[in-house]
Symmetry: C2
Subunit: 336 residues, 2 copies
């Protein structure tokens, strides 16, 4: 089916997708059925796939370049958490009738910008039509030295829990886009919306944590701090405690929380942060402080891993300044 609004499949590939693969030798110019990849000796491949659907993971009037970059970055964020270096990606795009050529041009420009930023290229893909909303699936490939990948299941009792950057910005940015916080200063509003639209995969941090042997368990925060720390706990057979007063917040998020303390649930359970959460022994504190300065990235100790003693592994308690548990109506994002 040719659409009046855009060229046919092969022409689209030639104009917009093939240039994204031009510098990727294994992509074979998108002119064959498959892509080829030979990992370097001593490394193993790290594979991740994650998709986004219009109206579920992004707003259908979000700028197409930012939809593309977010779809790519949520995958790169997982590689970052594992300490992996990205190699390339494959992508399937299901496009609905509303997608015209300028949309595709912007979408691919976003991918090109991020390819340059992260030093990767398109390896292959598939473009389809759909009667439903636009949906994008991306599969990234990365590499780690064999046996060195940072897992979720390696936390030890007494480990400190660290997070990078600030928490809750993205979920507050989404609320802002939906009309909340109408009196928020524009700079703060822009900051939150940018954090929603454009996650920052912490690849340099993940790479350094692996190389320098600083982290035990690691993952990225996509479901929310409480849920994702729960995943580390489940996989490591431990519980965890988080101190509310230690949570790293942007000025915008801190002010919003001051004005409405109920937002704490969104901040710790809203998801979409794409910051790294990792555990490390207390002895690593000073080295991590130094690493944060080197990377110019805030690294904050927010809690600790403990023996479950009575509670199930994966239990996470959020504590107030007096050590009392703060009840949470939600624990994290579930896709359905």
């Amino acid at each position: 089916m040719a659409s009046a609004k855009r060229p046919g499949e092969f022409e689209l590939i030639r104009r917009y997708f093939a240039p994204l693969a031009a510098a990727t030798p294994g992509a074979l110019g998108l002119g064959d059925d498959v892509a080829l990849l030979t990992p370097r000796a001593g490394t193993e491949l790290v594979l991740k796939t994650d998709g986004v659907v219009g109206g579920v993971h992004f707003l259908t009037d979000d700028p197409p370049d930012q939809i593309a970059r977010k779809a790519l970055r949520v995958n790169l964020s997982d590689l970052a958490a594992k300490g992996a270096a990205p190699l390339g990606y494959l992508m399937t795009c299901a496009l609905d009738a509303s997608v015209d050529e300028p949309w595709i041009a912007s979408f691919c420009a976003g991918l090109a910008a991020d390819q340059a930023e992260f030093g990767i290229g398109l390896l292959g893909g598939d473009t389809m039509s759909t009667p439903g909303p636009v949906s994008i699936s991306i599969m990234v490939l990365g590499e780690v030295p064999i046996g060195r990948v940072l897992r979720r299941n390696a936390a030890k009792p007494g480990d400190l829990v660290f997070v990078s950057g600030t928490l809750g910005d993205a979920v507050l940015g989404l609320k802002r886009l939906r009309g909340r916080f109408p009196a928020m200063p524009k700079a703060e509003s822009d900051h939150l919306i940018d954090r929603y639209r454009l996650p920052q995969p912490r690849l340099r941090l993940g790479g350094a944590l692996l190389e320098e042997g600083l982290a035990r368990a690691s993952l990225d925060i996509s479901d929310g701090l409480i849920a994702d720390l729960g995943h580390v706990g489940e996989q490591s057979g431990l519980a965890a405690e988080v101190e509310r007063d230690r949570l790293p917040l942007s000025p915008a998020a801190a002010r919003a929380l001051d004005e409405d303390p109920a937002l704490i649930v969104d901040i710790v359970a809203g998801g979409d942060d794409y910051e790294l959460l990792f555990t490390a022994p207390a002895a690593a504190r000073a080295t991590l402080a130094d690493l944060g300065r080197r990377l110019n990235l805030r690294l904050t100790e927010v809690g600790r891993m403990i023996e479950p003693s009575g509670s199930s592994p994966g239990t996470v308690r959020l504590l107030d300044g007096q050590g009392r548990e703060i009840p949470l109506a939600r624990r994290g994002w579930e896709h359905f």
Copy 2:
């Protein structure tokens, strides 16, 4: 969002998807962010991704196990065409509100059956909700000896063009499902519908073509014989001729064509065959006949690669018994 019709995301993964990954060591039990894969020494990875959308690539009331198997098999078919041995796959599923637990159980049972048939396992994936139709993206990984992959661009002038199996069954099966050929005997109708729903990736053939050095160019027929042979021609800088009277047809397709000669367009340009098309020097004829007998798979010489001499590379002419060109209103399937 929890749906009344099915359990939440994590429970679905535990019940249905994790068992598909249980025997795949690199899948880490689907309990981490990523999957790991170390290719064997001397091999390179072959990557392919292809998606299917409800109402576009399958009918929404198709049996879920067959939707799953087809989604996997269209990808395996590309590996087959390249001579690659499959290693595993990742999958993203966008599920709409109509998908209940029995649907998912059947879908995953289909995947389990094909995992056993093709000796592969699930490596990872992502499950999402969508307001649109169900859509599935699968990314398969395979391996070939380094530098040996069967490409599209390696055909030589004078090469014979071979296809496996029979052509046109799937597209006629789809027409049957939509109500055409009401008087067709049930056995023939069942055959065509089965060919539409359940492609047979020709992995043993592709592996043998690579190992025994029998094929020059190779791909799988997904867009239709004429379009896919055109891809070989474009990539190899050649034109091609196909003889209508040599086309391998099932008894059902042969009878349908007898009754309605206009169906020739569907047979050569309808797509969805998932047979292999490959080129080989004339000297390979006898060895290929022997290979077909060993594999119990029909291999038919249908035409030849020629110098383009005047026409553009990629030009494909379909000839009748007198060597006259048969005009074709369509050349192949385009996704939009």
